[in-house]
Every structure is written in structure tokens, then in C-alpha cells.
């Protein structure tokens, strides 16, 4: 999800982008997913479902949000889907976050 409310235009684009990244990570499930992917390098969706205390459809929803924020990507290798961190965007996000933390 992570849509723009009408007001977001009135903020600095960098702040909007940073908030978008923060929002993508603002749920324990999505943090857990990012940690999983970081450890395993690549990961089948079903494995993620097994690790989380949530229904498959809910996990799929969280994956979708991480994907729409650009933090992860999925490649289809039927019948499963491999997910991995989108390294390019993740580096960008990390830089933005780190800059903010200074």
C-alpha cells in the first residue's frame, strides 16, 4: 500500500521517501521478513509463512507492501516464488536512514 495522502506533496520529497521506507518497516512481521531474507540471501515464500505466526494470505500482504516499497523483489520459479532483498533500493534506503540518524 503506502499511498500518498493529499498533504504529502507539501513536505520535502526526501522526508516523504524516508517516511515511506520507515512505514514499510513499521510492522514486526515485515522486520522479521527482512531479517530472514538478509540471513538466507534468498528465500521461498512458503518458508517465510512457516516462520511467521500469521496466515499465508496475511504474509502475502506484507510481502506485497515490502515489494511496493521496493525493498524486496520476487522471482517466480513455479510452483514457488523466491524472494530476495532488492539490494540496490535497500542500499538507498539504508543511506537515507543513516543520514537521518546522524
Amino acid at each position: 500500500m503506502i499511498k500518498e495522502t493529499p498533504v504529502q506533496r507539501d513536505f520535502i520529497p526526501e522526508d516523504v521517501q524516508l517516511a515511506r521506507y520507515y512505514k514499510a518497516l513499521a510492522h514486526p512481521a515485515r522486520i522479521a521478513i527482512m531479517k530472514l531474507l538478509a540471513h538466507r540471501d534468498t528465500c521461498i515464500c512458503n518458508d517465510i509463512v512457516q516462520e511467521l505466526p500469521l496466515a499465508q494470505s496475511t504474509v502475502s500482504q506484507h510481502l506485497k507492501e515490502l515489494k511496493s516499497a521496493g525493498l524486496i523483489q520476487g522471482s517466480i520459479t513455479p510452483p514457488s516464488v523466491k524472494y530476495c532483498i532488492n539490494q540496490e533500493n535497500w542500499q538507498t534506503a539504508k543511506k537515507l536512514i543513516e543520514k537521518f540518524l546522524q
Copy 2:
């Protein structure tokens, strides 16, 4: 805000806490506020309202969220209220975030 849904118990406490911090920062207005406070060291609420494209009541709400996440604190010096970053908690938050970014 930032309440716990019933499911949050099933996650690692550290992930829950980290998500809480991320959520607190998951809005451009709150990021802008944190930046303001970081620059000015201390800041009167009304100054913040002037800087943001939002109504006073809305800003007050964002301040409340940052406060309930522990990231800022306010001290009353009538008729105004001085806000500042809660350095202790902010350091804790930064460490958690940085650890996650590794």
C-alpha cells in the same frame, strides 16, 4: 497511539520495539519534527506548527505520537510548551535501528 494488536505477542520483542520506532517515524511530518528538534535543540510547539503545512491540532497529534513512542518529550513553560528530543530513548532507538541495518 501505536497499540499492540493481539498478534504482536507472537513476534520477537526486539522486532516489536523496532517496529514501534519505525512506525513513529513513518510520516513526513514526524520526520520533519525530529529534524527540527535535532537542529534547534529545543523548540516551542508553536514554531513547529509554523514550519509544517498542517493544522495545529494535527501537529499536536503527531507530537503526541512521537512522545508516546518515547522519542521526544515536552516541558511546560506557560503559555508555551518546549519540546525536545528524548536523548536517552533516541540513542536506544538509533542503536536498534543501526543494528538492524547491518
